[in-house]
């Protein structure tokens, strides 16, 4: 399993990739997609909202189970990946095939970048799974 070193990880198995201007991409980890199995639908009902750290920003549906998505840090939801959005390209399977790339779920504007310090790096996250 793959856990890129340029990402930060949460205990709820989300990853975050911080870019310029305090924006960041958020998705679920390779471990999370593997545990859930084939994803069939992703719902993000917080577009445009400011969502606090650890609050739910959406839901993923796998064939076998449903799982809520938690914000690893506080932020405003700027974008829902159109490639997986049902109303657009509707390819939730991208989360299974490319969890850190085309399978990103939301783009956010960070409310408090210092919260990133509370997250794990790749090594710590792998230790959590071990």
């Amino acid at each position: 399993m793959n856990f890129p070193v340029d990402l930060k990880y949460s205990e709820e198995h989300e990853w975050i990739r911080v870019g310029d201007d305090d924006t960041a991409y958020i998705g679920i980890t390779d471990h999370a997609q593997s545990e859930l199995g084939e994803l069939v639908y992703v719902e993000v009902d917080t577009l445009g909202d400011e969502v606090a750290k650890d609050d739910i920003f959406g839901t993923v549906e796998a064939v076998k189970t449903t799982s809520d998505l938690y914000m690893p840090v506080s932020g405003t939801v700027l974008e829902f990946n159109p490639k997986i959005d049902e109303a657009e390209d509707d390819e939730p399977g991208l989360i299974n095939s490319d969890p850190y790339g085309d399978g990103w779920i939301i783009k956010v504007k960070l409310s408090d970048p210092s919260e990133l310090d509370s997250l794990m790096d790749s090594e710590a996250y792998q230790a959590l799974l071990a």
């Binding site: 199995g37 084939e38 069939v40 639908y41 739910i56 549906e61 064939v63 076998k64 189970t65 449903t66």
Partner: protein, 368 residues
């Protein structure tokens, strides 16, 4: 954790494994959707050796079976199988099961022999229950440990398996079986039954020969697109057909009449456990009913989600749900108050965070 004779093979095939009913079982190999399609279109193989098998043999074997099961086993000829359930004393269900009337080659004069096939999670409970009721001149033998079971399911099952046996597979009628030679093994029960709705066979063989049987089945089926299928697709396949799953849709507290299993509850056959309760439910009616529903939003209903009327009042509970791979829409089953059970009734499914729009539909959800 217990294993089946094929657990090592599943692991070697790269299956995703998980504990089910105390056994280390394959959940999926290539992916649930692909395995599901394989059974609907071609042929797939399930290792369901975790299921339990009991032999009931003796002069009063039929009397014991009639006492503990709800369907009318007196109708069974040698070579017939029957879907049935074990009612408890409170109008609920101890388990659902298959009853096979076996050939009498090992019986003495006046004896009959049956095989009961029960859910893996209930083997001990069922065994104790049936034993408790055995006041008859009959023996009970638990052969679960020595018995392996493959379900070979799909429209191409008969063609894929025909080279392995002299038995004309297409002539084996639905819910009947032949005991015979198969893949060089003696005394395999070749049963035209299954839990998928796509036809095919269930093959009962001795545990120590199951690996050999598995290999022979895959070799024979390779030109027919045969693939291994896990418990994940077993659940989506059965749910598309509206088949009840014990522990989800039926349980110790649900009546077979409420569950739509009135057709296996023969209240006129004579006395059996809870028959008075079922007769009363037939006459007076029931207050809740197991229904199928489709969710109109693209969210998947899950076990224990609350069912509401369109005003948000609680009217029932979801017992099973999935995204149907064949229909590509979310489907589920659940108990609702009887007045909400007619086809087309608009209901809501509460996920806890929001209410989804749904409507009651007829089962099977999917017409094979």
């Amino acid at each position: 954790m217990k294993t089946t004779p094929l657990t090592e093979k599943h692991i070697a095939l790269g299956a995703k494994m998980a504990e089910f009913a105390g056994y280390n079982m394959p959940i999926s190999y290539a992916g649930i959707k692909e395995e599901h399609a394989c059974v609907r279109n071609d042929v797939g193989v399930f290792d369901v050796s975790h299921m339990g098998e009991f032999i009931v043999k003796g002069k009063e074997a039929l009397d014991l079976i009639q006492k503990v099961t709800s369907n009318n086993a007196a109708k069974l000829e040698i070579g017939d199988a029957q879907y049935s359930c074990l009612p408890n004393h409170k109008g609920g269900v101890v388990d659902d099961l298959l009853v096979y009337r076996l050939p009498e080659d090992n019986c003495t004069e006046g004896e009959q022999a049956f095989m009961l096939v029960v859910n893996a999670s209930n083997i001990e409970k069922d065994w104790n229950w049936i034993k408790e009721h055995n006041t008859f001149d009959t023996r009970l033998i638990n052969i679960s440990g020595e018995t392996g079971l493959l379900a070979v399911q799909g429209p191409k099952a008969a063609d894929a398996l025909q080279s392995l046996t002299e038995v004309d597979l297409k002539s084996v009628k639905y819910y009947s079986f032949v005991k015979g030679q198969f893949a060089g093994l003696d005394n395999v029960i070749i049963s035209a039954t299954g839990y998928t709705g796509s036809g095919g066979f269930e093959l009962y063989a001795s545990s120590d020969q199951l690996a050999q049987l598995w290999d022979a089945v895959f070799e024979a089926g390779k030109d027919f697109g045969i693939k291994p299928v896990g418990l994940g697709a077993r659940d989506t396949l059965r749910l598309e057909m509206g088949f009840a799953l014990y522990g989800n849709d039926i349980s110790d507290t649900t009546s077979p009449i409420e569950a739509g299993l009135g057709w296996i509850t023969k209240t006129k056959k004579g006395e059996f456990n809870s028959v008075e309760i079922f007769r009363k439910q037939r006459v007076e009616g029931i207050t809740r009913k197991l229904v199928g529903f489709e969710v109109l939003d693209r969210r998947v209903p899950r076990h224990d989600y609350i069912i509401q009327d369109t005003d948000g009042n609680e009217i029932g509970v979801v017992t099973s749900g999935t995204m149907s791979p064949s229909l590509e829409k979310p489907i589920g089953m659940g108990y609702v108050k009887k007045e909400f059970s007619t086809e087309g009734t608009e209901i809501q499914i509460s996920t806890g965070r929001k209410s989804l729009n749904a409507k009651v539909v007829k089962v099977p959800f999917y017409k094979v």
